[in-house]
Amino acid sequence: MDVHNLTITDIKADLKDKKYSAVELTKAYLERIKTLEPKLNAFVTVTEEKALKDAKKADELLADGQDLPVLGIPMSIKDNFSTKYIETTASSKVLEHYRPPFNATVVQRLEDAGMVMVGKTNLDAFAHGSSTEASDFGTTKNPWNQECLAGGSSGGAAASIAADEAVAAIGSETAGSTRLPASWCGVVGLKPTYGRVSRYGVVAMGSSLDSPGPLTKTVEDTAQILQIIAGQDIHDGTTSSSEPKEYITLMKDKRRMTIGISKDYFQDVETEVAAKIEDALKILEKQGHTIKNIELFDPKYAIDVYTILQRSEVSSNLARLDGIRYGEDRTVFGEEAMRRVMLGTYVLSAGHYDAFYKKAQKVRTLIIENFAKAYETVDVIVGPSAPVPAMPLGSTEKNPMFGEVIDRLMEPSSIAGLCGINVPAGFSKDRLPIGLQVIGPQFAEDLILNLAYQFEQATLYWQQHPTL
């Protein structure tokens, strides 16, 4: 069967109409994974046996007339999410043989909602990077051009969607790790508000920033996954007690919005990318939205703030990996993890704490206040997700700040804990995807989904797929 561009919405209807069974569907995706993986390396582990078992169970539930939000839907999970007794490596040799005795909350909620997990996707080891070149298990190639990076850290997740190796994926973002690969692979990727989705069971990177989120073909599919995974979790004290909204319904009432744009978000952005975003603005204006110029805090300072905060949190979080309770010992760390741990150690050490960490937390306040002021006059902010389309393999070599610079248009919103979404906005002349990002205030996922959906309906870029 042809699995090109199938969406959750399509599949749910097809399964109900008995066009195919969940087992047939899962087999088709597993077959595709088998064919494409030598080219792409999107997966660290393929969970064939479990997938077929879960698909069979889904068919039984379907026959019984049961309806669950993702019943029988083949999904990929980023390999930094704990999956019960299934390898969870975070793409690091330190955790190569680690099989957690529990599920991350996000994974548990999806299992309860009927998901069929086909495998665990590749990332930069411990999510330290924006390319997957820091993975201990090889780089993920971009499905649109295998000489190019898929982006990262959720590169495997984004590639698995672009290549139709899964219908929906779970990724995680600290600052750019979902939106960047989504942009480079031409798929939808959502970074929810910090605290909207539980971090419990996710291998920790920057604990004050980490936000798990979905990557899918369409905005509607992203809304469906968010509806399942959003909400307070007793296992994560930083999840919000506010009730999740009705994302799927709220997405579809065509709201007219005031959209903010800032010239700083077009600085040093490649002409082709800027042109596509200009086109997008014209489309949005035609739909009846108002475009308004706003002043935002220069993203260049966000790079430094992000680097300081993230390295600090990384050094604390990786301290637990001592090879005593689980995992290998600290000699197995890759170079990037070592560099980050040592930078964090430096920043947090006596004499440097005030100069770096404390100052960064103060700039964080300025960034938050700056966004809050902007949202007094606009509903959402749009701009390019990334300053360039997918870069060639090897771009990160001898460039320890690669990710920080590439992710600079997403770092301010991450630092402020806002929500943001990437939606495909066309292609470069080399036929590499370009992404539009929509940034909303905290807990305004409904707004950014609404605008992204309107843009998607007018453009339908998602229906194009790479030749593989």
Partner: protein, 97 residues
């Protein structure tokens, strides 16, 4: 600015090979130089933000729930003894006594 990479590695409980030491000696100062940019901002009177969402006093009910068995909890440990984790020596043996 002179930074001792060896000292940092020791603080972070990392053992570096000589080639790792060399690449880190090159790359770490360049990242610190970047982070230094923040010093140019005037931040007098600005408060620190430590958490981006306002949740205070998060408690849960004190109910007994399913938890891991000892076997499950120790399953990934490379070295156990009688249901305990075996850890490396922290104190040295006193040979004078």
């Amino acid at each position: 600015m002179k930074i001792s990479i060896k000292n940092l590695a020791q603080l972070a409980n990392l053992e570096l090979s000589s080639s790792q030491l060399q690449t880190l000696e090159e790359s770490i100062p360049s990242v610190i130089e970047h982070m230094d940019e923040i010093k140019h901002l005037d931040l007098s009177g600005v408060k620190q933000t430590n958490a981006v969402i306002e949740e205070e006093n998060v408690y849960r009910e004190d109910d007994v729930e399913h938890s891991l068995t000892q076997d499950e909890a120790l399953k990934n440990a490379p070295n156990t003894y009688n249901g305990f984790l075996v850890v490396p020596y922290v104190f040295e043996e006193n040979t004078d006594a």
